[in-house]
Amino acid sequence: MKEKTYWQENLRLIAICLVIWFVVSYGFGILLVEPLNAIRLGGYKLGFWFAQQGSIYTFVGLIFWYSSKMNALDEKYHVED
């Protein structure tokens, strides 16, 4: 039972991360690139910035956020290594 709720919580975290992963790259970087390009970030058009810079920074942040959440989850369920 304990394993089952641990897995459910993990799946929820994965889902949140994948939504963000999708939105910054496929959403902002590809599907919504034209409207976002109307906004400027210094010399960058915003959609272009997400495609070539922003999505990558977000990916890095996502993995570390997921890691730290999972470490907390491991402790909560006493399954840490």
Partner: protein
Amino acid sequence: MDELKLYTYIAVFGSFAMYFAIAWWARAGSTSEFYVAGGNISPMQNGMAIGADWMSAASFISMAGLIAFLGYGGSVFLMGWTGGYVLLALLLAPYMRKHGKFTVPEFIFDRYYSKTARVVAVVCLIIASLTYIIGQMKGVGVAFSRFLEVDYGLGLGIGMGVVWVYAVLGGMKGITYTQIAQYVVLIFAYTIPAVFISLQLTGNPIPQLGLGSTLADGSGVYLLDKLDAVVTELGFNEYTTDNMGGTLNMFAYTMSLMIGTAGLPHVIMRFFTVPSAKAARSSAGYALVFIALLYTVAPAVGAMARLNLMNTIEPVAGQNMEYAERPQWFKDWEKTGLLKFEDKNGDGKIQYSADKATNEMVKIDRDIMVLANPAIANLPNWVIALVAAGGLAAALSTAAGLLLAISSSISHDLMKGIIVPDLSEKNELLSSRIVMTISILIAGYLGLHPPGFAAGTVALAFGLAASSIFPALMMGIFSKTMSGTAAVAGMCSGIGITMLYVFQHKGIMFIQGTSFLGDMGPNWFFGISPNAFGVVGAIVNFTVAFVVLKVTGPAPAHIQQMVENMRTPGGTAAVHAH
């Protein structure tokens, strides 16, 4: 010997000496050390090693050049080759590390209790890895022949010898520590010229910020706006909005590269070298930090190189450079045949435009952009020497990782796993080393005589990883009931449809003239290019697997129990063979 050559010799052979010293210090004594470095590499060290393992000659030499000419369309490589690490960290690496085996085909065998599945995985792995190695070997040959002016074949031979010493001697343990050193060399070699060029053009030393800054010429114009204006004036598509083949193609291309990245065995197996599932998660994060350092600089390098090139040819609109006054780097690259000029209107000046009839720069090989960049920007000789050493580090580190993936899958999965199950550890280690030696010779031969289809095969490597290995691994972890029969059916149909699509547009086995639909945009399925088709193969794989599962019934109870066990990290065992 001139100064540049002297510096280049020092940088290249100095770095080789360092790799040898590391390999001797970290030589492997057991199969566990040979395959997974004993399973006790720290997450940050592993992240750095993954960075070097992943960033190949293609990332180092070709990617910025591709972006320079594709503009916004080049984003598919930036997002695709980094976003895959999110999938690895969330969906595969920690669970596969928890399971604790040596190779990817071995994991597939355990999970799907099927020798067929194991053999299919081995075949995919070998095809994907060999295709990759050809590119690395070519990179080594080119770097040697261009920078040290030695014969291409001799350069290739030296490269093979270097890899042989530290990969065969050190196995995963030697490769890991060498890759850490190679990462440091390649990241300095990549970023230092970029910092110089960014400073020159924008006054901002950080290339990621320089790309979004105004030009340092006092005009107050943003660099990207200037680039857009320059290229559109000559009839090219606008740099910041040029989307490669439309939105759907970019979407599918990015997705194929992401799941292909997550399914490449030589990357996945690096996660078996850390001590725990927890460490596997964080090492994916570190890996992406180290990769992002190069991947966020690359678009700046690409855009700045394109602008520099345009400015060299046409410093002021309408005043083109005289061919007779062309700079030294132009002459150097003309000698290699990678840069070609043809004076079509006979005025002795260089005209560069998008119009094929009047364009006189008949060939600008994209691969020269990174290598020629320091010379175009007039950087000091030691920087150019560093770039040569960096390109070699990128090619050698990736080649070593791929060779290990091939040799472990042959000696561990085919030999010990299927053909000679009672192989002793000592003999398995010996056979790994022999297989690796043979693989190096084959890779060298293919580098020397690159098959005509070498360029097209990258699509195949990512297509195979995306359409077969990634879905099989993901279903194995996230669907407890997924059975061996269903997974094998899924893998085979995923590979089948991807190969069919690549072959029908690129030729059967890439032989010219055998493509029955032609490599033409209008014939592409919804406009998706063959390189972007892996994601469709993956969808077919998932669909077929779940349909077959419904018909043939779930996996046995002990397998489901094994998956349960994989999902919770507690008490990750040391990596062991059986």
